[in-house]
Amino acid sequence: MKLWLALAILATAVLAAVSLFVGVSDVSLSALLAGTASPQAQLVLVASRVPRTVALILAGSGMAVCGTLMQMIMRNRFVDPSTAGTVEAARFGMLMVLIFAPGLPLVAKMLVAAAFALAGTFILLLILKQVPLRTPVLVPLIGIMLGAVINAALLFIAYRYDLTQSVLAWTMGDFSTVLRGRYEILWVAFALTIAAYVAADQFTVAGLGESFATNLGLNYRRAMALGLTLVAMVTASVVVTVGVALFLGLIVPNLVSLIAGDNLRRTLPWTAVGGAALLLACDLVGRLIIPPYEIPVGTVLGVIGPIAFLFLVLRRGARVA
């Protein structure tokens, strides 16, 4: 198991290395090593390629781990920040900041967005409490609808304040604009992902359900609150920096769960590595399809994500969760 994980990390590192050297400007490895690379190439590498690659890794692993946490806490295979209204709520928070306190530093913006994201998730939980008859697919169904309602309100307000362009930028999942100095908040997401790993057992126990968790002496509500707060903050930091990647938090966790199960202490590293690898791969595809132009990774995942999700729902939906 350890060996395989090492191999997976290695494969992801290869993807990351490729990501450093693919793009419009020519940055070649041999020139760099020989010390003959032009100053411009060096600048591209340090100011654009490295931040972009790091951002992809941090956002990918963070969103995938978020998906797992939500799935354990809500005990449903089909929720992730993009099917539970969380992403839209975070965006709504961003808009509020933009309108009422545009001067806030980025960290404060992120925290406001996180607070809204958390509120959005709780609204979903409240709505779900009212549903008399729950089937596994009902949860993402209502989640997506809630997201659509929040989104409509968001666009309406954005339209009134003439902020539509900024709002749409948050939906793209575009890493081409990631530069040094503009992505560092994703390290917060990374720290939170590590925190999730430290508390992994709590979330596995919570995933057993309230009775089991209480029997084992876990404060179920506190674990839920902790997990959803982590999810909200990671989601918010991804939304404020690069926009979102649809269903990333669904594909990777479900694959990992099918292969290795749900003991998070063991599987979360896989989920994180898988998320990073998938996002890196999608970004590379987006860069290679029509050079010198780029297709945002959000669009690439927007095609892959729903296909994978449909496959999961139709295959797994009737049976599990």
């Binding site: 709505i127 697919v137 609808m145 659509a148």
Partner: protein, 322 residues
């Protein structure tokens, strides 16, 4: 409720709705008009035609789709049909190349588009219902996710066709009620007319089909054939209104369920006209209020999306879905 009372009540509600819709139309045409009347009337008349056509197409297609699928939450747009239209339109441009298309008569292109759309939707419908037909929730989720997929594919194709033009990517996320040109309006009106004639001939089967597959068959309706025909006509209506204004996800759901709510019975001779009148009232009235009172131009789709989404959640919450 006695049949007599029911008929009188239905007539009364329809009359009230008709008066309300007429007032909305009148207000739309006259409120805040400045300058030459002939210009105002022809300018607003073109827009009114689009709104009424769209209202009619969405109301009729949604009610009939719900009849043949036997539930009151699924709508063609929730199944991703209007996103499919957008995708096919883009795919045609992509495959043909923009230059090839300009040689083609726009009306022939539209016909081609609708034809492909009908074929694809039938395929999609059969596939989905074969795979997920036993669970309505699963069906809805699959439809919504398919809609997302079609939208992403459309975006992807648009990028491939024209990588420089980032503007095209997002501007069709929500419907736009201002942009349709006269030629297209006429073509769509013709299509809607043809579809309506087709539906008229099938109209005697609607109430029977609403009973479900088995009773309909035992009452002598050729179920498979009739449902397929109605579905094709419904898809053509969806194509017409998507071509005019773009995708509107929740509007059909809203008007159909309001129509069921205000009419004393589920008979199509009551619900269909009620849905159409409610749709006109909403679209024309809503546009009038937003445009003339609040001076917003393109926000109507967002308001509809907001209210429709809330309505959807409420309907699911009430547990009428199974």
């Amino acid at each position: 409720m006695s049949p007599d009372f029911e008929r009188r009540r239905a007539r009364l509600v329809l009359a009230l709705l008709a008066v309300a819709a007429a007032i909305a139309v009148l207000a739309f045409m006259t409120l805040g008009a400045r300058g030459s009347w002939s210009f105002v009337l022809s300018f607003r008349g073109a827009k009114l035609a689009v709104l009424v056509l769209v209202a009619y197409a969405i109301a009729v297609s949604t009610v009939l789709f719900q009849t043949i699928t036997g539930n009151r939450v699924l709508t063609p747009s929730l199944m991703g049909f209007d996103q499919l239209y957008m995708l096919l339109q883009t795919a045609l441009v992509f495959l043909w190349g923009a230059r090839g298309l300009t040689l083609l008569d726009p009306r022939a292109l539209f016909a081609l588009n609708v034809g492909v759309m009908v074929a694809f939707s039938l395929l999609l419908y059969r596939l989905l219902f074969a795979r997920a037909g036993n669970s309505l929730h699963l069906l809805m989720l699959a439809g919504i996710v398919l809609g997302l997929l079609f939208r992403s594919l459309t975006t992807l194709l648009q990028r491939l066709i024209n990588p420089n033009d980032f503007a095209v990517v997002q501007d069709r996320m929500f419907a736009n009620f201002n942009g349709a040109d006269g030629q297209l309006t006429l073509t769509c009106a013709a299509l809607v007319l043809v579809v309506t004639l087709g539906l008229w001939r099938l109209s005697s089967t609607f109430d029977v089909l609403a009973l479900g597959r088995d009773p309909a068959i035992s009452l002598g309706v050729n179920h498979h054939r009739t449902v397929t025909l109605i579905l094709m006509l419904v898809v053509a209506l969806v194509a017409a209104c998507t071509a005019l204004v773009g995708p509107i996800t929740f509007f059909g759901l809203l008007v159909a369920n309001l129509a069921y709510l205000v009419m004393p019975s589920g008979k199509h001779r009551h619900t269909l006209p009620a849905a159409v009148l409610i749709a006109i009232l909403f679209l024309v009235g809503g546009q009038t209020v937003l445009e003339r009172v609040f001076a917003f131009n393109t926000a109507l789709a967002l308001v509809i999306e907001f209210l429709g989404g809330l309505a959807f959640i409420l309907i699911v919450l009430k547990g009428r879905v199974r």
